[in-house]
């Protein structure tokens, strides 16, 4: 990958995640919170996509025929489920090491996934187009949210969708998603999230302006400590997901 000036990669974040890459797939390891979080976002993706594209949700592989990009795919925690649901999946991550881990794991799982160590800007420059783009827990780690989201939006086919999941920049998020999660519960290593880099929903709307892609669905995601699970909620103050579409 060439070190040009228009990249949206933050090198510090890439290094930190590469160091942890080997642990991606251990449900009891460092990425345990992500494994716990996975079902709620997968259910959200499955329901939204089947409804939007009018697919048969009772099918075992409802995503057959859809081309999906998972940007910032890490070890492939979302790519593999997408492939099992029948999608033609491209997984992209800036970290070579993550991509290696993801490739090895996909082979072990006997799944075919097109993993690439690259950026959204490069994929866009190559003229790639997708029915669905997944941008899950990524925007809070990029250096230029605006540039990043514009390149993603550009790759959405007419009638296609883009999912963006991240953490809101609020006092509540600072208390729960950073202080509690990193210092008290120790779910995440210290320094995983920096408050200044968190993204407000309005900033996503602003970044997508003029791209022809606009947000039509918003949900909060909230952790219930009593039942130890994640649920959708109306409260978007901490974790939230939005879905945007390009008109066909």
């Amino acid at each position: 990958m060439s070190a040009d000036n228009t990249t949206t990669i933050d090198q510090d974040d890439v290094d930190r995640f590469s160091a942890m890459a080997a642990e991606w797939w251990d449900p009891a390891g460092k990425f345990k919170p992500l494994h716990k979080f996975n079902p709620v976002r997968l259910r959200y993706i499955r329901e939204t996509v089947t409804e939007h594209f009018e697919l048969d949700a009772s099918q075992d592989k409802p995503f057959s025929g859809l081309r999906i990009l998972d940007i910032g795919c890490g070890g492939g925690l979302l790519c593999e489920p997408m492939a099992r649901m029948g999608a033609d999946v491209v997984g992209a991550d800036a970290s070579e090491k993550n991509i290696e881990i993801a490739k090895i794991h996909a082979k072990q799982s006997e799944l075919t996934i097109d993993y690439r160590a690259t950026t959204s800007e490069n994929l866009d420059a190559q003229g790639e187009q997708f029915d669905v783009i997944l941008n899950m827990e990524v925007v809070e780690h990029v250096s230029d949210v605006d540039l990043f989201l514009k390149s993603c939006a550009h790759m959405v086919k007419p009638g296609g969708l883009i999912f963006i999941a991240t953490i809101n920049r609020t006092t509540k998020a600072r208390a729960l998603a950073i202080f509690m999660a990193e210092n008290v519960l120790r779910w995440l290593p210290k320094g995983t999230h920096q408050y200044e880099k968190l993204v407000k929903p309005s900033e996503i709307d602003a970044a997508l302006e003029g791209t022809g892609v606009s947000v039509f669905k918003r949900s909060g995601v909230f952790y219930n400590p009593l039942t130890d699970d994640w649920n959708l909620s109306k409260d978007m103050d901490v974790n939230y997901m939005v879905v945007a579409k390009r008109e066909s």
């Binding site: 716990k36 259910r43 499955r46 489920p81 492939a83 099992r84 649901m85 072990q108």
Partner: protein, 424 residues
């Protein structure tokens, strides 16, 4: 809501074992078969193989019957099995519980559970095990589940390289699966192989089980008499027949079933009474040791325990089978859900959700039946007074009685969808 799968073409029962499958279930009892049918119905693309170490004729010669609660009937109905079982089912319309010494001429009636769950729905039914297994096997055939008798699991090992578990079957055959489910009973060998420890104690009691023919109709009434040696239950079957579960000390139970018929009949008559007229023992009585066995873990990576393999409890409240149904329904629901979301069905975090769902309920039931047994299986005067008082109070408080009836019919707590009569 997801539509039920259209049945695939029937699988050959004696089909050769494949090299690879998605799910291997060890044990073709009702828990193993229920789990197989529940998953196959909602996730038809998952391949399922069921193996059982016993030869094919063993299940066909099981003369026992089981009390099946209303929720379990809803599940069997949802799985299209109920219409096959219904002709053989005897509704329990009334349940009488008494506490007495064996030779008391008239036993005080403390609790009469006459309640129905819905209009016209009895709270439990007695069904012959063989009919339940037959119906479940028929559905397995329709859904393409392979059942192989006479083959047991002799070892297994997780294979990280292939994200699966390699299972040794019998002498030579190895099969690779994503998930191994052990439904091989209270003395589960797979549980030991997985290195899962149990909490166990022996009650020093055995349950004698037999089918009794009698002159007059039981009118759908079940009776449970708390005798000093332990509970003596009479459970109605179709035609003028009843099933008995007769608790005695292990030693006495052995003596009774191995002794002469005359002695057995006299002892039986003393407990069964003659209000249903002349009685006759129809099947050879068998004794089953009673104990409490709780597995410390229900799951390991790519491995899950269900039914008696996870928990063997005292039959005092007739709850063992209902726990097995709940396990099958909960495990199937979690596996199908994970499969729909494209998750690895054998991953520990998926299986842990099943464990979390079932363990509390199981331990609670294990402890409750244990306390009941300790409270009732004795002839200590103060305890007799206490439990008489206790049962009398329960009978007078409608709310508490409802709670007991609901527990007995298995519809309380967070209920898996199949037990609510819904699809997964």
């Amino acid at each position: 809501m997801a539509k039920a799968a259209t049945p695939k073409k029937p699988a050959k029962r004696k089909a050769a074992l494949p090299q690879k499958t998605d799910i291997l279930i060890a044990g073709a009892g009702y828990v193993g078969l229920l789990t197989a049918v529940s998953i196959a119905r909602s996730a038809p693309s998952l391949n399922i193989v069921v193996v059982d170490a016993a030869p094919d004729n063993v299940w066909q010669n099981d003369g026992r019957a089981s009390a099946v609660a209303a929720a379990a009937v809803r599940m069997l109905d949802q799985l299209d099995c109920w219409q096959d079982i219904l002709p053989h089912a005897q509704p329990i319309n009334e349940m009488v519980v008494t506490d007495s010494r064996t030779n008391d001429p008239v036993r005080p009636v403390f609790l009469t559970f006459e309640g129905s769950i819905d209009e016209g729905e009895p709270f439990a039914r007695m069904i012959p095990n063989v009919e339940m297994i037959r119906a479940l096997r028929k559905r397995c055939d329709e859904y393409g589940v392979t059942i192989v008798q006479g083959v047991g699991v002799t070892g297994f090992e997780n294979n990280e390289e292939s994200q699966s578990v390699d299972i040794q079957l019998g002498d030579e055959h190895t099969l690779r699966a994503k998930l191994l489910i052990a439904c091989d009973g209270v003395n589960s060998r797979l549980r030991d192989m997985a290195g899962i420890k149990t909490v166990h104690w022996d009650y020093g009691q055995a349950g004698i089980v037999a089918t009794i023919a009698h002159e007059r109709s039981h009118e759908g009434r079940a009776e449970e008499h708390f005798l000093p040696a332990g509970p003596f239950a009479i459970l109605p079957l179709t035609d003028n027949r009843s099933s008995i579960v007769w608790t005695e000390s292990t030693e006495k139970a052995q003596r009774l079933i191995n002794g002469d018929e005359f002695t057995f009949d006299i002892e039986l008559e003393q407990r069964f009474g003659l209000k249903l007229g002349d009685i006759k023992v129809e099947t050879k009585p068998r004794a089953y040791p009673l104990g409490l066995t709780l597995a410390r873990d229900f799951v390991k990576p790519r491995f899950a325990l269900a039914g008696d393999a996870a928990h063997g409890i005292h039959p005092i409240a007739g709850q063992g089978l209902n726990l097995g149904f709940k396990d099958a329904a909960a495990l199937a629901e979690k596996v199908v859900e994970a499969h729909r979301l494209g998750l690895d069905i054998g991953a520990l975090n998926v299986l842990e959700e099943y464990q979390r769902w079932r363990r509390f309920d199981t331990v609670q039931m294990g402890v409750t039946t244990d306390i009941l047994n300790r409270l009732f299986s004795n002839d200590i005067a103060p305890l007799r007074a206490l439990r008489s008082f206790g049962l009398g109070v329960v009978d007078r408080l409608p709310k508490l009685k409802d709670f007991f009836i609901n527990q007995a019919s298995g519809i309380s707590g967070k209920t898996p969808r199949l037990l609510r009569g819904e699809q997964i």
